[in-house]
Amino acid sequence: MKPILELRNLKMYYDTQAGQVKAADDVSFVLNEGESIGLVGESGCGKTSVSMSIMKLLPENGRIISGNIFFDGKDIVNFSDEEMNKIRWAGIAMIFQAAMNSLNPVYRVGDQIVEAITAHEPNVTFEEARQRVANLYKLVGLDPERMDNYPHEYSGGMKQRAIIAMSLACNPKLIIADEPTTALDVIVQDTILRELEKVQKKLNMSMIYISHDIAVIAEVASRIAIMYAGKIVEMSDSVVIFKRPAHPYAIGLMSSFPSIRGEKKELVTIPGEPPNLLNAPDHCRFAPRCPFATDECWKQTPSYSEIESNHFVACFHPQNLKKLVNMNA
């Protein structure tokens, strides 16, 4: 297995009037070809910031401070905009969080997808590109006749599917799906995610799923990375994370969401305020909300420990969920 994307100690900060927002702090992970990883965490923990760093589409006040992003073996951190434009969409495509507004209101939806194809493959004729879009429409469950409609004539779910079709247009090696379904009702959400997973497997693409809902992610991603306040705090196979979460935050997160399949779990809510990334402290960022925090946790940031094979946790006091549940009972 060949790695397609590797993040190495990525630091991405926003400069604001009030100070630095450390939206991604020492984020590292490796994603292999054909593999999918889920990035999970509550709102504001920096998921979108990580994906925008990979696309290098940061706002004016956002900067990559240090670290590397290897895509296809090349470090793209210092790539110019022109160099990035070759990678964008052809190499890494993205399904945006705000899918509803991701289409330009004044152009036909089909044309906006064709545009992506002809931008990267100048030898493809207009008719060939349209044919490809029609096939993609069928793949994501849209009627190809709707290609010539404008975005306002689409329903939310249709827009979402069109955007998924668009992300597949140039056969990218990697797709980043940033909350691809949050705006939709649960049933449509489930179908679309499943379709996305099917397509990903079929075309052997790598995928980063981003969501705040760990149950949703666990069903489609083979691995899960849990983010808290700009840092990945736990990472392992989905099954492992789901069965044996070790970071206190992961345990809390796991319990606060009902699975979309309807399995009910003990609800352990996470007490305390969501973290403020502004001028983030040097100690463990979860310490203020952590029931297990000790003096150590307030002094320094924990480094990763591999508590079992391929299961990494950044915590001084990794827990065992089974024991906890038994204790409560």
Binding site: I87, S102, N104, V106, E115
Partner: protein, 385 residues
């Protein structure tokens, strides 16, 4: 869908037009002394002429009958006889002057729109540079400046200081005295040439859109046919014996056009800049960037194209403002169009002419409104439904 929308708009404008014409009628009747005294109390008129006017306007009839007659007359272009140009019918004067105003406005507006659009666009795109601050300040100054003051500055700078442009009139009498040519005919030919060039550009644009999907080919078709039609018409006027007279008229147009352009330019630029800054924040711009489209394509095809919509809306709103600026401009440059006619006839108490000028200025504004509405519908797919 589009046709239905356009049909609806035309109907609405037609209704507005009738209401407007009716309002002008009641305005005239509400004037001190009533319309009868106003119409006939002109010392130049002989008693017979006064009698004729009373009969022609049916001024002894009841008001509602007068109203019906008036509406009938307006829509059959029977607008009465001008006092100051007695016995020329009002319609003849308007038919001669309306095209001048239409030309002045259309040319100035188009220039202002495209220059304002382009500069507003690049200002927003290159945010934070000194050029942005300078142009914004200059824009706000020209936007808020008292129009006559602006005109005096233009007159002083180009007419007196540089001395390169003529300051008054529609043409140079010294040149035209040796010929028996009718300036109006030449002017209409100029107008026709411009309409033809415009039509060629529009047609080549439509053809390019329909028959090619490559941006470069589209541009080639459009620019090539535009340039060829412009060169061809210049050549045509060059070899024709009346070319020099046409040039004289155009030469006299430069300053008025420039002034009206400045009046409407700043608004377009400022609105375009603001709208563009808003549009850049939209999610579909991030999408366009993520697709790896070149910077220019993101700017022009996605950001500017969408940011343009509020500019067009703003244009409709500022139409009245531009027209009042136009009245002052025409008057100060002695450009004998509708604006100057409106002012002169009112001052001369030439009521038939004033009413006619008022009605046709209104019609012109309403039609401009309609044209912009239709253009907007073509620009924004959301409006057509």
């Amino acid at each position: 869908m589009m046709l239905k929308y356009i049909g609806n708009r035309i109907l609405q404008i037609a209704i507005l037009l009738v209401i407007y014409v009716a309002i002008v009628f009641f305005l005239l009747h509400a004037m001190p002394g009533g319309i009868k005294t106003l119409l006939i109390s002109n010392p130049k008129l002989t008693p017979q002429a006064q009698e004729a006017i009373i009969r022609a306007f049916g001024l002894n009839q009841p008001l509602w009958l007068q109203f019906v007659d008036y509406m009938k007359n307006v829509f059959t272009l029977n607008l009465g006889i001008s006092f100051s140009y007695y016995p020329t019918p009002v319609w003849n004067i308007i038919a001669e002057r309306l095209p001048r105003t239409v030309l002045l406005f259309t040319v100035a507006t188009l220039i202002a729109f495209f220059v304002g659009f382009a500069s507003g666009k690049s200002l927003a795109w290159n945010r934070g540079k000194t050029t942005e601050y300078v142009s914004t300040v200059v824009g706000i100054i020209t936007y808020t400046i008292f129009t006559p003051l602006l005109i005096f500055v233009v007159i002083w700078f180009f007419g007196s200081f540089l001395g390169i442009f003529p300051l008054n009139q529609f043409l140079n009498p010294d040149l035209w005295i040796h010929t028996r040519l009718n300036a109006q005919i030449i002017f209409l030919y100029i107008l026709m040439t411009m309409v033809i060039i415009g039509a060629v550009m529009l047609a080549s644009y439509t053809i390019a859109l329909r028959f090619s999907h490559k941006v470069i080919t589209r541009r080639m078709i459009f620019y090539l046919s535009s340039i060829i039609s412009v060169i061809f018409s210049i050549f045509f006027w060059w070899v024709s014996p009346v070319g020099i007279y046409a040039a004289d008229i155009l030469w006299h147009m430069v300053l008025p056009v420039m002034t009206v352009t400045i009046i409407s330019y700043a608004g377009t630029m400022l609105v375009m800049r603001d709208s563009m800054l808003e549009t850049i924040k939209e999610d579909f711009i991030t999408t366009a960037r993520a697709k790896g489209l070149p910077d220019k394509v993101v700017r022009d095809k996605h950001a500017a194209r969408t940011a343009m919509l509020p500019v067009v809306t703003n244009f409709v709103l500022s139409l009245g403002f531009v027209v009042s600026g136009g009245v002052i401009t025409e008057t100060l440059f002695s450009w004998p169009g509708m604006g100057m006619t409106l002012l002169d006839s009112t001052l001369a108490k030439d009521y038939p002419l004033a009413a006619g000028a008022l009605i046709f200025t209104g019609i012109f504004v309403l039609i401009a409104h309609l044209v912009v509405d239709i253009v907007y519908a073509f620009l924004d797919p959301r409006i057509r439904y």
